[in-house]
Symmetry: C2
Subunit: 355 residues, 2 copies
DNA sequence: ATGAAAGCGCTAACAG
DNA sequence: CTGTTAGCGCTTTCAT
């Protein structure tokens, strides 16, 4: 803003060539056959003047802005939305793109980013990433369909937009299997009474993993609560732990509920992990890393989803995606176990007097 | 991308006027005196065709992109960086701007966003927001000085960039005063041994608030630890609580340390808030809201800083800032108390046998 | 091997 | 009151 921004024509003047030539050498145009010595002059002039291309002008001309719009539902409220943004920002950078971001209130069953889509398209973004607030399926804003777009952490009900989702069920199986592998046979679960997809899939994975391991599923060992925070976890845990034969391990719907379980255990004088193993879900670093003992949990691939979505999007934009439609099957990314200190083999001693 | 984007000339054709007229009515140019009936035709045509201006073309022509670049140090790692982003996104939207965001590794004593500044300037952003990772002072990237820029959560050592910072000390005073107001006279503190500015300012505020209230500052009632997480808080708390006369209330350096204090209290059988009041700092919702009892704490104005910074920036860009230099005193935003359930009057009973 | 010229979609003087 | 014209900074055909 101080000294007027140097442009291609300044470079041209300094190098004693035409602006066309400057453009060609600076962009390494294949067909342009420019003398080696000329190239040098141009490059040097550019460097000397501190030339940087005006990406707006380039975009106007080439009809490619190299910017990706990100619509984030309830940014900063949704836990870890920061990570999907970071993933997309970094993946974009690698490919020479930049992220333009807007927020969308995540209310109602439908995606709410309609105005957002328009805003971003006016700004000529090359494609749009819609980061949903962890709902399974949603109806994407009408404006989205037809243009390069990918949905993160949700699938479009109309299957008209491709998406990147976590392998929820695999993650839950991993969690339960971790407990089984540690030697537990009497495993409980604390979960949500809400009719949300995660609740179903995690419960299902819990059952399946148990029976796959030849273990019995006992309905009385799963306790649910409407609120999936620490308070809910505490109440569910109390019910679970105050029965005749309590489990030696429990799988929690999320880290917050696990936090409630920790409190219940402390009050009942049962020690984690010696007398009770626990694994959570979500890997909320702040919680999982600061509970005592640190919570073993399953991590949702937030960063990876953001990054992957951007890659898919850019491939689509640049046409590297082959002739097939953008709308293939959703990319499903693994949820990995983050092992900390809350899992141990069951203690030798009987957990209850008569067991 | 399907049907070629409609442009100003399509509207002109549809309305039977020239593109200049369209531009003028759509932009409400003051001096342009266009017939009311013509205006209507234009507006209708525009609406009917679903016209949206190509903001890139506008920007190229007007030399104003209406986009603000945000450089975020360690986005998503820094706690609550999501909130400053959200604040800036929403404030920008109100003024018709959009946010373009990039990440910068927050290592070393200096701001690391040099490349980032260049990237953003190439994209013709109108100004830059540099969101630091909660360090007090830093040397901003050289490219920043001279252009519209504001620093969030830090001050430039060269005072060449204006900034928005939290009233750390005021927040700490509020925290301590809350305890005093509840009737406590024997108040402890758990803090960091690190030589970081927050540690100094919070400790100072602690002392000052005490003496201002006519209370005695006792060095033995402040316990520090190098690690400011729950583990550190636990260790410090143990030392603090196992003395002859323990405090009836404690002010914690942050919510994580408070979390450690909760554990220590539980183990020692002292009940919060009946026998011990506690107030934290940071308002990490996930922690503070899920501890039991919920933690009363002081909130850092992350969202507000982002929003305020954008407003300052836009004022500077649009020249509403008066003749004065952009680099005025830093804007300091209040840290407010978030009252939850961890503070109560001191219990009537003596805390120790002989007290 | 290099340059002239047209034009991306829009705004801002200025002319009618 | 409205239209013509000249660019913003760049890329890309097409001449030379």
């Amino acid at each position: 803003m101080s000294t007027r921004q140097v442009g291609i024509k300044d470079v041209a003047a300094a190098a004693g060539v035409s602006i066309a030539t400057v453009s060609q050498v600076l962009n390494n145009v294949a067909y342009a056959r420019v003398g080696a010595e000329t190239r040098d002059r141009v490059h040097q002039a550019a460097r000397r003047l501190g030339y940087g291309p005006n990406r707006l002008a380039q975009a106007l001309r080439t009809r490619r802005s190299d910017v990706i719009g990100v619509i984030c539902e309830d940014m900063a409220t949704a836990p870890n939305s920061g990570l999907v943004i970071l993933g997309s920002v970094e993946a974009a950078k690698v490919r020479g793109y930049t992220i333009m971001i807007i927020n969308a209130p995540g209310t109602g069953p439908d995606g709410s980013g309609d105005a957002g889509v328009a805003t971003l398209m006016d700004r000529q973004v090359d494609g749009i990433l819609y980061a949903a607030k962890g709902r399974r399926r949603l109806r994407v804003p009408a404006g989205l369909v037809g243009l390069p777009a990918v949905l993160v952490d949700a699938e479009d009900v109309g299957h008209s937009v491709s998406s990147v989702i976590p392998d929820e069920e695999g993650g839950a199986r991993t969690a339960v299997q971790t407990l089984i592998d540690a030697g537990h046979t009497r495993i409980g679960m604390i979960t949500s009474t809400d009719d949300v997809p995660e609740a179903h899939s995690r419960l299902l994975a819990f059952k399946d993993t148990l029976v796959d391991a030849g273990l019995e599923f006992r309905a009385e060992l799963v306790q649910s609560e409407p609120s999936t925070d620490a308070a809910g976890g505490y109440r569910a845990a109390l019910r679970l732990m105050q029965r005749d034969r309590r489990p030696t391990a429990v799988f929690c719907f999320n880290d917050l509920m696990a936090m409630g379980l920790y409190r219940a255990a402390a009050e009942l004088g049962v020690s984690i992990p010696d007398e009770l193993s626990v694994v959570g879900f979500d890997n909320q670093e702040l919680i999982a890393g600061n509970l005592h003992p640190a919570l073993t949990t399953v991590s949702l691939p937030h960063y990876e989803m953001g990054a992957r979505a951007v890659e898919i999007l850019i491939d689509a934009i640049e046409g590297n995606t082959g002739p097939g439609p953008l709308t293939a099957l959703p990319a499903v990314l693994p949820c990995t176990l983050v092992a900390r200190d809350s899992v141990a083999p069951p203690s030798g001693q009987a957990v209850t007097p008569w067991a």
